[in-house]
């Protein structure tokens, strides 16, 4: 699963999806996370980076990560074509 090519993300956390016409704001953690996702990094790698950089434990981060991921799919920033795909 990757970020769809129509989505542009600015350095200050503004997101525009030219496919749907929707725009979004990211908070600073959201921006850091989406950057790592767009680099194609996997959860384990991202989690390691976050836990070492932020005041967060790995379980809390994992929960938040999946919730964020669900929202990205909901806003069509990422597309899941197969409902059984799990990454």
């Amino acid at each position: 699963m990757e970020i769809v090519k129509e989505v542009k993300i600015s350095e200050n956390g503004f997101v525009f999806n030219s496919k749907t016409g929707d725009s979004f704001n990211l908070n600073p953690t959201g921006l850091a996370l989406i950057k790592l996702i767009s680099e194609g990094k996997e959860l384990d790698e991202i989690k390691k980076e976050f836990v070492s950089a932020y005041e967060v434990d790995d379980l809390t981060f994992e929960k938040d990560f999946y919730e964020f991921f669900t929202l990205l799919k909901h806003h069509q920033i990422m597309v899941q074509s197969d409902p059984l795909e799990f990454k």
């Binding site: 997101v15 725009s23 979004f24 990211l26 950089a53 669900t70």
Partner: protein, 445 residues
């Protein structure tokens, strides 16, 4: 290297449209303590969920209501509406402040007597009064507010049997411009039924008519409706005197004053739109004073307001069980207090607040209770900060009706706590346990 402060990653859609006239609140309200006791301490001691009542708020609200009426009218008497909250500790505070008791069932009558209220200071309302209940009321010299002709004739029969007099009033329903008109209770004013009932009672040997009662509805936002009601009752009072030479002792305007809760579908918050006690008092007392009743014969004004006196004093403390997303990405939150404890959540948008400083990011959220039922929704849509599992929340203005209309369902009903004037907390109703529920069950042999 020092770690960065973590905030839950969030992406929020920018929606263009008509901006809210009121804008977003500048700051999320937090309720971290009740009468000086931290929410966390109350929950540690009494569990979660837990109802908490503030004696200080009860007494202050009562004093405010009393002042509004007593500064405008010479004879005022409040009667505490038991059905709104009949926990002994709560009733005791109102009786200590000088309230009589207003009851609507044999059970409530017995409860008032058990608390120590004198029978002559009990107003007995409601459509359901059995022969046993009426006998109890007559024997205790209570005032029976007659609801219908069948009750009137039953009373005549009982007083004859007992060879005793009953002190009675009639409940009158009327058009005050309020919709829906509560015409299911009492005798109608406009079609002459109320006047008929008065005539019938005045001719009965063992019935002493001493008052007139009405209760025009609930959560009445228009004080002018009470003025109409007071005027119509004053007309009946004057007519009774003209025909029978008898001045009735009181006029009872019932209850129905709005609390500061926000009704579902309301545009503005109830705290901004609800009339004050002064508004109601001004309307009612002006109507009575400017009626044709001579000043020396002005009746005592009884008030049975319940909701407006107790709603603000009650809180429900609850814990976040889970955060989740719906299939459409909407934020859902599950808390450990359901609609079985919060009957009023069916008609109010109850105020739900965090107990400690949350994230600044607000998102529209649906708050669900823990019951395994689809109807268990505490708030359909509320802008709420992100909170974690285990975080403690406070639901305010839940003092009226919830602890009388709550249902035991799939779990135990929680502790109810009162914080007294010295800031000490007391359990006033213990949490149920298996024994509470099992001890009324009987297995067939």
């Amino acid at each position: 290297m020092e770690k960065l402060k973590y905030e839950k990653p969030v992406i929020s859609k920018i929606t263009a449209g008509v901006p809210s006239k009121f804008g977003l609140p500048a700051r999320q309200k937090i309720i971290s303590e009740i009468d000086g006791i931290p929410v966390s301490k109350l929950m540690e001691e009494y569990g979660s969920p837990v109802f908490v009542f503030s004696e200080n708020t009860i007494r202050n609200t009562y004093a405010e209501a009393r002042q509004a009426f007593e500064t405008r009218y010479p004879k005022v008497q409040f009667a505490w509406s038991y059905k709104t909250n009949y926990l002994d500790a709560v009733c005791n505070i109102f009786h200590d402040e000088g309230s009589w008791a207003e009851v609507v069932s044999g059970f409530e009558f017995e409860k008032a007597l058990a608390i120590g209220v004198s029978g002559s200071q009990i107003l007995f309302n409601g459509p359901e009064k059995s022969e046993k209940d009426l006998t109890l009321a007559i024997n205790h010299n209570a005032c029976v507010h007659i609801d219908h002709f069948d009750e009137l004739y039953l009373l005549m029969e009982i007083t004859q049997k007992l060879d005793k007099k009953a002190r009675v009033a009639i409940r009158v329903n009327m058009d005050t411009g309020i919709y829906p008109m509560w015409d299911r209770f009492g005798f109608n004013y406009e079609n002459g039924e109320a006047w008929n009932a008065i005539n019938r009672i005045m001719l009965a040997d063992r019935l002493e008519l001493i008052g007139l009662h009405t209760h025009i509805g609930t959560y009445i936002m228009a004080p002018s409706a009470y003025a109409i009601a007071a005027t119509k009752l004053a007309n009946l009072l004057v007519a009774t005197h003209s025909k029978f030479g008898h001045w009735l002792k009181y006029i009872d305007l019932g209850g129905g004053f709005a609390s500061k809760n926000t009704l579902k579908g309301a545009y503005m918050p109830g705290s901004e739109t609800c009339p004050t006690f002064d508004d109601y008092a001004e309307a009612i007392t002006n109507a009575l004073i400017s009626s044709e009743i001579p000043h020396e014969n002005l009746p005592t004004l009884f008030l049975e307001t319940g909701r407006a006196l107790i709603d603000d004093a009650g809180y429900l403390l609850t814990t976040v069980l889970a955060n989740k997303r719906s299939s459409t990405g909407r934020r859902n939150m599950v808390i450990d207090a359901g609609v079985n404890l919060l009957f009023t959540s069916f008609w109010y948008n109850l105020g739900v607040y965090p107990s400690k400083s949350p994230s600044e990011y607000l998102e529209e959220t649906t708050i669900y209770g823990p019951l395994c039922m689809n109807i268990d929704v505490i708030r359909d849509a509320i802008n709420f900060p992100h909170v974690k599992t285990g975080d403690q929340l406070v639901i305010e203005r839940v003092g009226a009706y919830n602890v009388t209309q709550w249902m035991q369902f799939i779990t135990y009903r929680p502790n109810v706590v009162l914080i007294d004037l010295e800031g000490r907390s007391h359990v006033i109703k213990k949490k149920e346990d298996l024994e509470t529920l099992k001890n009324k069950e009987v297995k067939p042999e």
